[in-house]
């Protein structure tokens, strides 16, 4: 639509002249004449030919103007109008730079999801087809499994509900086959490899085995086969494949308090994402139900027992309203609010929320009735630190001359002058008073309670079993020191309260496995470990529970990821993410990866060569440091832009074994 391009400069000028002509009337003609005269004389000095041409042009133009003045005037007008209008209608081709903010950290629940559209049972389907159709249809959560119910007949008592238990199969190659069949009755058997199961509370437990279930079918009076008897595995649950679960379920965190009620602990659960609108309701219901059986011994919920959600979580614009039943009056509104805030903030469409008990608005002390979703930072599972704000924490490490060092404005700052090459894998306590580490051989746990200037090291623990060694020591937020003594297919967990001796933990879930690394999370409740299972490393997460008698239970460990075949070291990047050094599928050497505790996909951290990474240090809001070795040189690497996950690694500090105190 741009008319300007086919017109020459001259034409444009003439159009403009036409416009002024029309507006100013007769007086303009003399102007134009003067202009053309000036043009002509000007031209003559340079190029007489051009001057003559232009004069001839002008004369012709003038003659034309005289002959059909009004027409020229009108066309001039029209041209000017068209030019003006097209100038307005063009898309801008330049202008100032407008800066914008990228969207908030996308939560996993915001990802698009895919729903399966089931098929209703068709007339003339055989019993096998009916069973197949039912298994497919049960993966659709729409309208409370309405379509799947059409495959059933009679009183099967099938009631999957909004949060069903799920038996997870490897894949769908479980061809149904007819076991027995009469005129009106049939039994169809389905066999497959079970991976595990999701309990109604949302906890997934791995339980690989071969399963065969049988369905009873009856021919109805209309001549169609329908399922009348469900196997016990399916009666109260769904039979889904791994792909179905991946599609229809999301892992979401519920937040509960540590036993001392100082910090929150995330509890990852599987929640069916049938409809994003009901996600808040399901989340709050799950939170009120309490922690999963795995975590429940280790945490406390602020909600009194039997507290229920009244109605749904109502979301108006970006304000959610949570209405609890009267039992909640017995609870502490602050802690309940903290738990709800942290749980609801996973849904990015909620920015604020209100707490109601029996319809009455409750304002926790020091807060408005409408609370921002990001309040209650004091109960952050990461303690005082947070992934969202810059941290001033710097790591400790073994410097270039083998001394325990700190980092001062990006440079090595040796803290201890002596004791060179005596300590490896140092770990400072969160209050930065004590330091523990291993001997270079890894068979002794060394210790000093004078972090700023130690002159000698104390041996706290020596390996008890022949051939065993220790994992790098790790501190929890109560300044307890944890260390695993491990040998091939054997391990023991040791714990030391401040000022006391190391004690072995009786309930240790990984006793039969080799443990490569153990790190206690900043909430002090969870611990992540790299475990060798059948020759492959697996990242597992466990919880530490304390009996009223003081006995420690570190029994239940759950696998998080076995994608990294050769995991070496790990660190808690934040309460939901581990930074792990490991080798994925085709990698030739270990690289750092971010492994979400929820079991979602792992993502690489940074790009570029690292040599042979050996240890990793991470802290919320602080750069990740990796101790590497290439040949004889030990270096510590960090990302050039620590806030950018895909920024390049650069190794400038000579040293090894970095570790954060907090």
């Amino acid at each position: 639509m741009n008319l300007r391009s086919p017109l020459t400069h001259r034409n444009v000028l003439r159009g403009a002249a036409g416009r002024t002509d029309a507006t100013h009337g007769r007086t303009h003609d003399s102007h134009a004449a003067a202009d053309s005269r000036a043009d002509a004389t000007h031209g003559r000095t340079h190029d007489s030919h051009a001057a003559a041409d232009s004069r001839a042009d002008d004369v012709r133009a003038a003659a034309g103007r005289r002959a059909n003045g009004p027409i020229v005037r009108l066309t001039g007008c029209a041209a000017a109008l068209l030019l003006a209008s097209t100038a307005c209608a063009t898309v801008p081709s330049g202008g100032r730079v407008v800066s914008g903010r990228s969207a908030d950290r996308a939560e996993q629940a915001d990802d698009p999801y895919v729903r399966l559209i089931p098929v209703r049972p068709k007339a003339g389907w055989s019993p096998e087809q009916i069973v197949s159709g039912f298994l497919y249809a049960s993966a659709s959560f729409d309208d409370d499994h309405r379509v799947a119910r059409e495959y059933l007949s009679g009183n099967t008592g099938w009631q999957p509900g909004a949060r069903p238990a799920v038996t997870v199969f490897q894949d769908r190659r479980f061809a149904p086959r007819i076991d027995k069949m009469s005129e009106t009755q049939a039994t169809v058997k389905v066999a497959g490899d079970q991976l595990g199961a999701i309990l109604p509370e949302g906890q997934y437990t791995a339980d690989p085995k071969r399963v065969e279930v049988s369905f009873e079918l009856t021919k109805t009076q209309q001549g169609a086969w329908r399922i009348t008897g469900l196997p016990p595995e399916v009666r109260a649950s769904l039979l889904l494949t791994k792909a179905d679960v991946d599609r229809a379920f999301r892992t979401m965190n519920l937040y509960f308090f540590t036993p001392d009620q100082q910090q929150l602990v995330p509890n990852g659960i599987f929640l069916p994402l049938a409809n994003r609108r009901h996600l808040a309701t399901h989340l709050v219901r799950a939170l009120l139900t309490g922690p999963t059986s795995w975590l429940s011994p280790a945490v406390k919920s602020a909600f009194p027992a039997d507290t229920k959600l009244v109605g749904d979580v109502h979301i108006d614009k970006d304000i959610a309203t949570v209405n609890l039943s009267g039992q909640a009056r017995a609870g502490d509104p602050e802690r309940m609010s903290a738990q709800l805030s942290w749980t609801l903030r996973q849904l990015s469409d909620i920015k604020q929320w209100r707490l109601r008990i029996d319809g009455e608005e409750i304002a926790p002390e020091g807060h408005d009735e409408t609370q921002p979703i990001r309040s209650w930072q004091e109960y952050n599972p990461d303690g005082q630190l947070s992934e969202e704000k810059e941290s001033t924490e710097t790591p400790y490490f073994i410097g270039s001359k083998g001394q325990f060092s700190g980092l001062l404005s990006g440079k090595e700052n040796p803290l201890w002058t002596g004791l060179a090459y005596r300590l490896a894998r140092p770990a400072a306590s969160p209050d930065k008073l004590e330091v523990a580490g291993l001997s270079p051989e890894g068979d002794k746990v060394l210790y000093s309670d004078k972090l700023p200037s130690a002159t000698n090291l104390q041996t706290l623990l020596t390996s008890q079993q022949p051939g065993s060694r220790f994992t790098p020591p790790t501190w929890d937020r109560n300044n307890q020191l944890w260390v695993v003594e491990t040998a091939r297919d054997e391990s023991w967990l040791w714990v030391r309260k401040r000022g006391q001796r190391f004690q072995r933990v009786e309930h240790w879930g990984l006793g039969g496995r080799e443990v490569l690394s153990l790190r206690v999370a900043r909430d002090g409740v969870r611990a992540a470990a790299i475990v060798k299972v059948d020759g492959r490393t697996q990242i597992q997460i466990g919880r530490i529970a304390y009996d009223p008698s003081g006995a420690i239970d570190a029994g239940a460990f759950l696998p998080v990821s076995s994608e990294l075949v050769d995991a070496k070291d790990l660190a808690w990047r934040s309460f939901g993410t581990l930074a792990v050094l490991g080798r994925k599928g085709g990698d030739s050497q270990a690289l750092p990866y971010l492994v979400p505790v929820s079991g979602s996909a792992i993502t690489p951290l940074g790009i570029g060569a690292l040599g042979e990474p050996e240890s990793i240090a991470a802290s919320p809001g602080a750069p990740v440091y990796i101790g590497t070795r290439s040949g004889d040189r030990s270096q510590i690497c960090q990302q050039q832009a620590p806030r950018d996950q895909y920024s390049e690694w650069s190794c400038r500090i000579n040293g090894s074994d970095p570790n954060y105190a907090r």
């Binding site: 990802d111 698009p112 999801y113 895919v114 729903r115 399966l116 559209i117 089931p118 098929v119 068709k122 087809q129 197949s132 159709g133 497919y136 249809a137 729409d142 894949d171 769908r172 190659r173 792909a243 991946d246 599609r247 409809n275 994003r276 609108r277 009901h278």
Partner: protein, 546 residues
């Protein structure tokens, strides 16, 4: 029931009032419409510009909608092509048949983009147990059956293409919205992309709102311009009309102001030239008639002195007519006497009329009962009437009819009328009626003589006009009587009008205001006598009122 009727009555009354108001408003508007060029021009400009702007707006809206939809469809088809390519890639890369749908669906989930941009629906035609997968809350009914059919037919053809249509996107627990749906086939998969058109709808609504706003402003602006332009034209025209009116009313010195050099200025100049010429001509004519009047007056006066001498001589001759031997001489003396009387009265009339012409006639008004004047006049003409065999019938009201009039002049008028009636009455009865109302008194004199031909009603008042020039003059009227009577009536601010019909007779009506100098609005007596002339419309004598 009474309540009902009262309500009904009220309603009816209200309706009537409303109708009256509406009718009144319509009439007023119509009057304004008829009277004012400006109103007409502005109204027609409004109507035409509303129509044009509405047409333009609809056209623009259609154009914009079409352009927007085309752009959207192009983008959508582009997206779909990309999606289809991805599906084909996945098909090629996943060797195992069993994982195919899952791979494709996972891929699709990744590329469905942030919610709100578009939704995806994919179908695996080889899987009879699943009717496909959709993203987010989208329901499968969103893909219309006709699009599926179209795709199935297209895939049967040589080259599988894409198809698009508009439809309603329905969701789980969310309001459905309009959308664009494009679909295509790749291998065993049918892929549909569903684009909500909420943003486009919003844009179009905004555009429409803008167009309406601009249209209204444009129409108002056009009307304002039309009003301004017509004002600029109408005001000079109005001034010209007023000038012409004043000129017509006799103010010959009236001129228009000439401003600028435009057409209106030329009009003003021509008008002024015309007025000047008129004034000159009228001045000349006035001067001429002044000279003539003066001449008549002078002649009359000059004739009077010798006439007096002649009169004395004639009187003497007349007194001694019997003494002449020759009887023919005596007869001549008689003739001389009578013609001298006639000559004298003619001269008096001439003087009187020249006084009127000169504007020298004055009104000597006093309050008089008009009935007395009538009686006196009838008494004066009684002898003449008896001689002609006419009977004079009087129709006088019982109460006095007082009016401020010049007794002498009114008597002369009445006498003239009576003499005229007797003269043309053919001996028939003559009816004299008097009537009065609040503002005026009227005297009508009716005869049943030859009457007047059409058009003669006006001519009777002309000087020296005679109904039948060949007719013998028995009473010896001067031919100026009715003219003078009319001048006298006008001096009173009254009317003197005549009606007549051949063979039926005629009637003269004198209407005078009760108060001298007051304006006369109507007459208490009809000009056409009752029972006469009903067969014919009133004729032009009504115009004589001036």
């Amino acid at each position: 029931m009474p309540a009902m009727t009262s309500i009904k009555r009220n309603v009816r009354r209200g309706l009537v009032t409303f109708r009256r108001i509406v009718r009144g408003a319509t009439r007023r508007l119509y009057t304004r419409w008829r009277r004012s060029i400006q109103v007409r021009v502005v109204t027609s400009t409004l109507v035409i510009s509303v129509v044009v702007v509405a047409l333009l707006g609809v056209f623009l809206q259609l154009q914009i909608t079409a352009a927007l939809m085309e752009a959207k469809t192009n983008t959508a088809v582009g997206q779909l092509d990309e999606g289809l390519a991805a599906v084909r890639r996945d098909l090629a890369s996943s060797a195992e048949t069993g994982t195919r749908p899952e791979t494709v669906v996972n891929n699709l989930k990744a590329r469905s983009g942030p919610s709100g941009l578009y939704e995806v629906y994919i179908r695996d035609t080889s899987n009879e147990f699943v009717d496909g997968w959709t993203t987010n809350e989208l329901r499968q009914e969103s893909v219309p059956r006709r699009l599926r059919e179209e795709l199935r037919q297209a895939s049967a053809g040589a080259r599988p293409g894409t198809a698009s249509t508009y439809g309603t996107l329905s969701y789980n627990d969310r309001r459905s919205e309009r959308g664009l749906i494009v679909g295509g086939r790749a291998g065993q998969f049918e892929l549909y992309y569903l684009f909500p058109l909420t943003q486009e709808q919003k844009t179009l609504t905004d555009v429409q709102r803008t167009l309406v706003g601009v249209g209204v402003v444009l129409v108002v602006l056009l009307a304002a311009i039309a009003s301004l332009v017509t004002r600029q034209v109408v005001i000079p025209v109005r001034l010209a009309a007023q000038g012409a009116q004043r000129l017509a009313a006799g103010r010959l010195e009236e001129r228009m102001r000439v401003r600028g050099e435009d057409d209106l200025a030329r009009l003003a100049t021509s008008f002024n030239d015309m007025a000047a010429n008129l004034q000159d001509k009228i001045g000349e004519l006035e001067d001429l008639s002044q000279v003539q009047r003066q001449f008549v007056s002078d002649v009359s006066h000059e004739l009077r002195t010798p006439l007096t001498t002649i009169r004395i001589a004639a009187d003497m001759l007349y007194e001694h007519r019997d003494t002449f031997d020759d009887p023919s001489v005596g007869r001549s003396a008689e003739l001389l006497q009578s013609q001298l009387e006639r000559f004298e009265s003619l001269l008096a009339d001439l003087l009187e009329i020249s006084r009127h012409d000169a504007g020298a006639a004055t009104l000597d008004a006093e309050s008089v009962d008009v009935r007395d004047l009538v009686l006196r006049a009838v008494g004066d003409s009684q002898t003449l009437a008896e001689r002609k065999g006419s009977k004079v019938v009087l129709q006088l009201p019982g109460e006095p009819c007082m009016a401020e009039v010049d007794r002498r002049r009114v008597e002369r008028i009445l006498r003239n009328l009576l003499v005229n009636a007797v003269e043309h009455g053919e001996g028939e009865e003559i009816v004299v009626s008097v009537a009065a109302d609040r503002d005026a008194v009227a005297v009508a004199v009716r005869d049943h003589g030859v009457g007047l031909k059409p058009g003669e009603g006006q001519m009777v008042f002309d000087r020296f006009w005679r109904a039948d020039p060949a007719r013998a003059r028995t009473t010896g009227g001067t031919g100026l009587g009715l003219s003078i009577s009319r001048e006298d009536a006008q001096l009173h601010g009254g009317w003197l009008q005549a009606w007549g019909e051949p063979g039926v007779g005629s009637q003269f009506r004198l209407s005078l205001p009760r108060v001298a100098g007051a304006e006369l609005r109507g007459s208490p007596l009809p000009l056409v006598p009752l029972g006469a002339g009903s067969a014919r419309p009133l004729f032009a004598e009504l115009e004589v009122s001036e």
